[in-house]
């Protein structure tokens, strides 16, 4: 069955199935998930088709983009449309994580699995409250206990963490050794630089008439 399907399945059809799946899914789809649905094309072929699809979206100046997030693929809206969408969803995109939250996340992302005292040693302050918030927001999870004296709880980042920051994997974060404070400025890794430029090109949405 799968043999004959493989022969009959045209590339255009594969592409449509993948596009439909990405359209319907509300979370990033893994390559393995797509592969098991298609039952024919191998991983390389699927990657190839997705790359083609992503390029089409960009070329047609579509409102949508295909992005690799948290190790999967997801359809997202073009960032330049954000100002309008923010008006539609008033709460989305306005809440940001606090400085202490971001610092704590940064430490956990690099040092995981990390215990609370290890995080506190770096930040120099107690992190009870921040940790609790991050766990509630599902950005950090308890990974278990370290098998040492006192069996302390160890923490790590979640899949949601990658999604929240639009990262494909933790590898995308710069290496800590890259930071050198004898030089004045810290260069961002290349892929981050590009996105920052794109961000600067945003246009503003039409202003709403303000009530006096």
């Amino acid at each position: 069955m799968s043999e004959s399907r493989r022969i009959n399945m045209e590339r255009i059809q594969i592409k449509n199935i993948i596009e439909a799946m990405l359209f319907v899914s509300d979370k990033p789809l893994f390559l393995s998930e797509i592969k098991s649905v298609l039952e024919g094309p191998d991983a390389d072929e699927i990657k190839d088709v997705i790359a083609e699809l992503a390029l089409e979206y960009e070329k047609q100046t579509s409102a949508l983009r295909i992005k690799e997030i948290a190790g999967g693929y997801q359809i997202v809206t073009d960032p330049v449309l954000a100002p309008w969408l923010k008006k539609l969803y008033k709460t989305a995109g306005s809440d940001r994580l606090s400085g202490p939250s971001l610092e704590t996340l940064a430490i956990i992302a690099y040092k995981q699995p990390a215990t609370k005292p290890e995080i506190e040693a770096i930040r120099g302050v107690n992190v009870d409250g921040v940790l609790k918030t991050l766990i509630e927001k599902n950005l950090v999870k308890i990974m278990g206990r370290r098998e040492t004296v006192g069996r302390p709880i160890i923490y790590g980042t979640t899949q949601e963490f990658l999604q929240y920051f639009g990262l494909n994997s933790l590898e995308e974060l710069p290496k800590l050794e890259e930071f050198n404070f004898t030089e004045k400025d810290i260069e961002l890794p290349e892929h981050l630089q590009k996105e920052e430029e794109a961000q600067n090109e945003l246009s503003e949405p039409p202003q709403e008439n303000r009530q006096p």
Partner: protein
């Protein structure tokens, strides 16, 4: 009158040290301990004066700084004249500061990524965050710096007077809220400039901190050491309605 202000977004002692290093344009690997210790203690004194809850961690670093300072004043021990082993007393602190600074940089990068990610919408509107987390544009230390600057400019009062509570924080909170209805933004320096004496400045400053805590206002600063603007927290207002 005791009036404790609790700030949820409270940076630690290392953050304060980094702030002082940046402010003085100092090389992190060659910190003039005497100057930094003095400034660090000045900030602690200010925080105490404002009745801010000084976390124990701040005192630990203060003790560390004083310890390093005294060590550097002492002549090197003649008995242990092994040059390789002679350690810079600042070394351990610098190591901690550098490590902390790295993570602060990463936190900055994460913040950029967060901003970019929030511009891309997906089918499920990503991630419901608890509403109302205040985003600090100007840090507590920026506020305290502005506060010190103003205090220095106030002429010394010559007579010893007994003053009744002419200005209360409560009244200042009302004043500020009222003014913010009339104007969208108020300059912090302007506010201080119009104050009659130290008591009024302190009352005003505590009122600003209180309004931040209540999420009624947001304070913003365009660049380092520039004026600080106080604006209404519109988001909070919407949530209430």
């Amino acid at each position: 009158m005791s009036y404790k202000v609790k700030l949820e977004v409270f940076e630690g002692p290392l953050d304060l040290l980094l702030y002082l290093i940046k402010k003085n344009e100092i090389d992190i690997y060659d910190i003039p301990i005497a100057t930094i210790t003095e400034q660090y203690l000045e900030y602690l004194e200010l925080m105490r004066m404002l009745d801010l809850n000084i976390a124990g961690e701040f005192l630990v670093i203060a003790a560390t700084l004083i310890h390093i300072k005294s060590k550097m004043l002492l002549p090197p021990d003649e008995k242990e004249l092994l040059p390789e082993e002679e350690e810079d007393p600042r070394e351990e602190l610098v190591r901690r500061l550098v490590e902390y600074k790295k993570f602060k940089e990463v936190a900055g990068i994460l913040q950029d990524l967060e901003g970019q990610r929030k511009k891309m919408f997906t089918r499920d509107i990503p991630f419901e965050t608890a509403p109302g987390e205040v985003f600090f544009e100007a840090s507590l230390f920026d506020l305290i710096t502005a506060f010190t600057r103003v205090l220095k400019d106030v002429p010394k009062e010559i007579f010893q007077e007994i003053i009744k509570d002419e200005f209360t924080v409560e009244q200042k909170v009302h004043d500020l809220l009222h003014r913010l209805v009339l104007t969208p933004a108020i300059s912090l320096f302007e506010l201080f400039k119009n104050a009659k004496n130290k008591t009024e400045i302190i009352a005003t400053f505590l009122a600003v901190l209180e309004l931040i805590r209540l999420k009624e206002v947001i304070v913003m600063q365009k660049q380092n050491f520039s004026d600080i603007e106080i604006v209404r927290n519109e988001k909070h207002r919407l949530n209430i309605e």
